[in-house]
């Protein structure tokens, strides 16, 4: 049963990744202006070099052959070359991915700590002030575009991962607050309270264990949200991560780079949700 869930998750991950990258390749191939290359305007290039650039562009124009060639190269560990940056995509990803992953980790850590702290405070104290503070903070943050927060954080010279953390926080707070609220209203919890069980006992013996599988699932979703949020933050904050790279690739219609970034981002996002879903099922099975 467990291996079936994992295999289904891996199959889904592969199918989504292949479809996503193919869609990216099709999109870029049929985008207006694909056949032209800015490098051809460079007066320093010889006729032979310009011809070579045209041939390279022409070879990439045939999407099925480009894509099949790409998949074959991928199996060999070759991710191709970036047209706009004139560097191997693998080395670009190697340089940029750790920056994004580090910021992603710090942002998630901040979001989960503050989000859970707010949710626990509002549910444990049940004070109107705590609930209003939690709702107010999450309401304002959920209404703030990532780009706007990035501008403010650059202006005040705050680290950008804190902005990413604040943008993920509302989802964590709201979901956790609802989970805890539902947990406290379950019949056996009400019974335990009626029998005089202590606040912490109820929380850690009944409410938290019931909410744990959902939190594990939310962890995967929060990784996916964080990846999306990092893109405008890195682009505006001039952070050399894969978000900034994706933005540069999209602006310069750099097909090999964009396809690989699509794959990387989709892989991270789907792998995180697949892993967390598997962990959630495992927890639910153990609880049963």
């Amino acid at each position: 049963m467990k291996s079936r869930i994992i295999l289904a998750g891996i199959a889904r991950l592969l199918a989504l990744m292949l479809t996503a990258s193919l869609a990216g390749a099709l999109l870029l191939r049929y985008a207006p202006g694909f056949s032209s290359d800015e490098r051809e305007l460079n007066t320093g290039l010889s006729a032979g070099s310009i011809q070579a650039i045209r041939q390279e562009r022409l070879a990439q124009g045939n999407v099925p052959s480009f894509y099949l060639h790409y998949l074959a190269s991928l199996c060999r560990g070759d991710l191709g070359n970036s047209i706009s940056l004139n560097q191997p995509v693998r080395s670009l990803l190697h340089d940029r991915l750790p920056v994004t992953l580090q910021n992603l980790f710090l942002a998630l850590l901040l979001a989960w700590i503050v989000g859970l702290a707010l949710a626990f405070t509002s549910q444990l104290t049940r004070s109107r002030l705590a609930v209003a503070a939690g709702e107010g903070v999450s309401g304002v943050l959920i209404s703030t575009p990532a780009a706007a927060l990035a501008l403010l954080f650059v202006l005040f010279r705050f680290p950008l991962w804190t902005a990413a953390g604040l943008l993920i926080l509302p989802k964590i707070y709201r979901y956790s607050s609802n989970l805890l609220g539902e947990g406290y209203e379950k019949p056996h919890v009400l019974m335990a309270r009626a029998k005089g069980a202590g606040t912490w006992g109820i929380l850690f013996r009944h409410v938290v264990p019931a909410a744990l599988p959902q939190w594990v699932s939310l962890l995967g979703v929060s990784v996916s949200i964080a990846i999306g949020v990092m893109l405008p933050l890195e682009a505006i904050g001039d952070v050399p991560g894969i978000g900034q790279l994706a933005w540069q690739a999209a602006l310069s219609r750099d097909l090999p780079l964009l396809v690989n970034l699509t794959m990387a981002v989709t892989f991270l996002s789907v792998a995180a949700t697949t892993l967390s879903d598997s962990a959630k099922h495992s927890l639910l099975r153990n609880a049963a």
């Binding site: 989504l16 999109l27 985008a31 309401g139 575009p145 780009a147 990035a150 501008l151 990846i227 981002v265």
Partner: protein, 268 residues
Amino acid sequence: MKTLRIIAIVTLMAAAVAALGARYIAPGGYEHQFREATDAAPSAHHPLGTDELGRDRLARLLYGLRVSLGMAPLAALLTTVLAGLLGGIAGCFGGWVERSSMFLADLFLSIPWLFLLITVRAALPLNIAPESSAAITFLLLGLLGWAASARVVCAGAKNLMSSDFVWNARAAGFSGLKLVRLHLLPNLRGTLLAQFWISIPVFIIAEANLGALGLGVTEPLPSLGSLLKEMQEMVTLRPEPWRVAPIFVLIILVSSFQVLLNKQEVRA
């Protein structure tokens, strides 16, 4: 909460009136250059000052508000129609139709939303007429934002298809369009309305992000996103507090939608 909702409604109405009456509030228009007062500080003539080209910042903010407030509901309508069609068909037919529709929705949802938007927007021409860029930006939002809503609609349609009254209707000979028109659509109306309301603030935020990255509405037409892009040089040059007005307007506007949204969701 009731007071908060009243404040949100008043705020949205004030924003709509200000956007519609931009011509009267700031008669100069969004592209008129006051060449004698470039990069001016706030004054009686220009309450938010002027930009480097001498254009009135208040006028640009009001016209930007008009673009975002006017186009986001249209994009939300498009996305709701798409979600209704795809989710509704998937929920009604089930089987491979549902599986393939939901796989498509999964695909859209697995690629982070902004990444998807940036990629698709960049694949289209960037140097185009401002009006076309506004239309393309919001059209893209409408075309790409359906996936999450389609999942909700699909679940709703599936529930309805297995409900007693639909079984009775089918047994009584109702099928096809008649079943959809008389039983499914009226019962899905609440869900669709909720998805429409949810999409509006999402699209306003998405346009702001795209605009700030230079992939949204192009100059000289302002939008809330393109106003954020104009602010980027402030970060490296000099801090002038009145220039951050678009950020606060944006947050207040979207917050107002969020406050009203809870009510709409409850109704749905």
